[in-house]
């Protein structure tokens, strides 16, 4: 029996390797590299500054572990492009391991605004593990108390890594909006269609929107950002309009 069990284990391993090893394949349009993009990104800095301005909100986007930060065709980038059409703002995109760099960039942009006698309003947007990073950064900025509080936090299917280096992600469930003065508006979009890898309704969030039933069978963790992009764009426009309103009041005074 022991030998049979051993053989079954070997069979299982062979099957697993076969199914995993099958991933790189030829497509109609040529060889498609099924390289896990994370390894490519980690060779260098995962940061793209899209736009820099002396006024308007400071928008930091964390598009998640699998999204190229210099890509142009994913949901959060499209939402950001639309927001930038609404008015002046500073915008940058960061990988999930670049929270410290994002922190420095937000401080620098905040100092530019203060030198320009403008309000320094921060907006954080995160998807997947990036959502968890955005929540943590919101808490850090609120704790510092240097006037860089987050006016808008948008999380899409926010996840956090388990401690002790375990890679398995779990849903992020506590909104930093519960901290006094931490964040004015927290919009949380999540889906429950993908087993194990999904966000959740956050206690304390201003808005929680479950979106997988709205698009049955089409939405998964992998593409939920594309589906909610128009809504995220509307949220970001709100922040840009709000900042423009605050600045105009300040100027008139």
């Amino acid at each position: 029996m022991r030998v049979a069990g051993l053989w079954l284990t070997v069979c299982g391993l062979v099957a697993l390797c076969a199914s995993a090893g099958c991933t790189p394949r030829e497509t109609v349009s040529g060889a498609m590299q099924a390289v896990y993009p994370r390894s490519v990104h980690r060779a260098g800095i995962q940061m793209t500054v899209v736009q820099s301005a002396r006024e308007g909100p400071i928008i930091a986007v964390f598009p998640g572990a699998q999204t190229p930060v210099d890509g142009l065709a994913y949901g959060l980038r499209l939402a950001l492009d639309r927001a930038m059409e609404a008015g002046p703002c500073s915008a940058a995109i960061f990988g999930v391991d670049e929270a410290a760099r994002a922190h420095i960039w937000i401080h620098r942009e905040g100092m530019r605004r203060k030198a320009n006698e403008r309000e320094a309003e921060t907006v954080l947007v995160g998807y997947g593990l990036g959502g968890g990073v955005a929540c943590d950064l919101t808490r850090d900025l609120a704790d510092e108390g240097e006037g860089l509080d987050v006016v808008l936090l948008v999380t899409v299917d926010a996840l956090r890594r388990l401690p002790a280096g375990l890679r398995s992600p779990v849903a992020y469930s506590d909104s930093p909006a519960e901290i006094d003065g931490g964040v004015i508006r927290h919009v949380n979009y999540y889906q429950m269609a993908t087993a194990f890898v999904h966000g959740a309704a956050m206690t304390g969030a201003t808005e929680n929107h479950e979106v997988s039933r709205a698009w049955p069978r089409a939405v998964s963790h992998a593409n939920v950002d594309d589906y909610v992009a128009p809504l995220v764009a509307a949220d970001l426009r709100w922040a840009v309009d709000r900042s423009a309103g605050a600045d105009s009041i300040e100027t008139s005074q």
Partner: protein
């Protein structure tokens, strides 16, 4: 000795067959969860349009999805560069693919993701989206896409959906209306929120508790209305 003797030939054949079977299954889906197309779009952007057109006929859904999204991205880039004819041509190509596409996932992606991404705003696209709403074909996608593309003009098509028999459609139409930055649309959503109670509304809407849906929509419309009221004051 155990009763189950190891016949190496039989076991090896079994192992190979299982491996082949799993390998074939693995070919269908590239990763643990389906349609991880985002990382591949950047690579496919380098390809010619002929290659993308060939991908539209691929048997794999994610090939078709990637090709469509790359086309939508190219359409948007063409529009940004002032090449409107090119943008229009690519959008028409995407719409023509919708007619022959069989997969509901890809059809959903065309309406909900590719059309807003392509950002081509003309009566042909609006008519297509209105048709989707009327026929209930990818209705939720069409609601959000119409709101994103047509702006305030979408109000007359979305407001009637607030009376739809399905609670999920009413809720999504309300959510789409919040994108419009239009006082009349906002008022319609406020009235929707005020009426969100049983028995007309079920206790669970689209997998989320009714209380959560009502609270979220109310907060959203409150945030959206603040700049509007400032505009009115001016």
């Amino acid at each position: 000795m155990s009763e189950c003797r190891l016949d190496s030939c039989a076991w090896l054949t079994f192992a190979v067959l299982v491996a082949i079977l799993c390998g074939l299954c693995g070919c269908e889906r590239r990763t643990l969860y389906p349609y991880v197309d985002t990382p591949y779009i950047k690579q496919q952007q380098e390809h010619s349009e002929a290659a993308l057109r060939r991908d539209l006929h691929s048997m794999y859904e994610d090939d078709r999805s990637i090709a469509l999204r790359v086309m939508a991205h190219r359409a948007r880039a063409a529009g940004a560069d002032g090449h409107e004819q090119e943008q229009r041509r690519l959008v028409r190509l995407i719409l023509s693919h919708y007619e022959r596409e069989q997969s509901p996932q890809i059809r959903s992606r065309i309406v909900g993701v590719c059309l807003p991404q392509a950002d081509w705003r003309d009566e042909e696209v609006y008519a297509f989206l209105r048709k989707c709403i009327l026929e209930g074909d990818q209705r939720t996608d069409a609601c959000h896409a119409l709101a994103a593309l047509a702006g305030r003009a979408a109000r007359s098509w979305l407001v009637p959906l607030l009376e739809h028999p399905e609670a999920q459609v009413r809720y999504q139409a309300g959510l789409a209306l919040t994108q419009l930055e239009d006082p009349q649309a906002s008022q319609a959503v406020v009235e929707l929120v005020e009426g969100m109670a049983p028995p007309r509304w079920p206790l669970v809407v689209g997998g989320a508790p009714l209380v959560q849906c009502r609270g979220s929509l109310a907060e959203r419309i409150r945030a959206v209305r603040a700049p509007e009221s400032a505009e009115d004051t001016e």
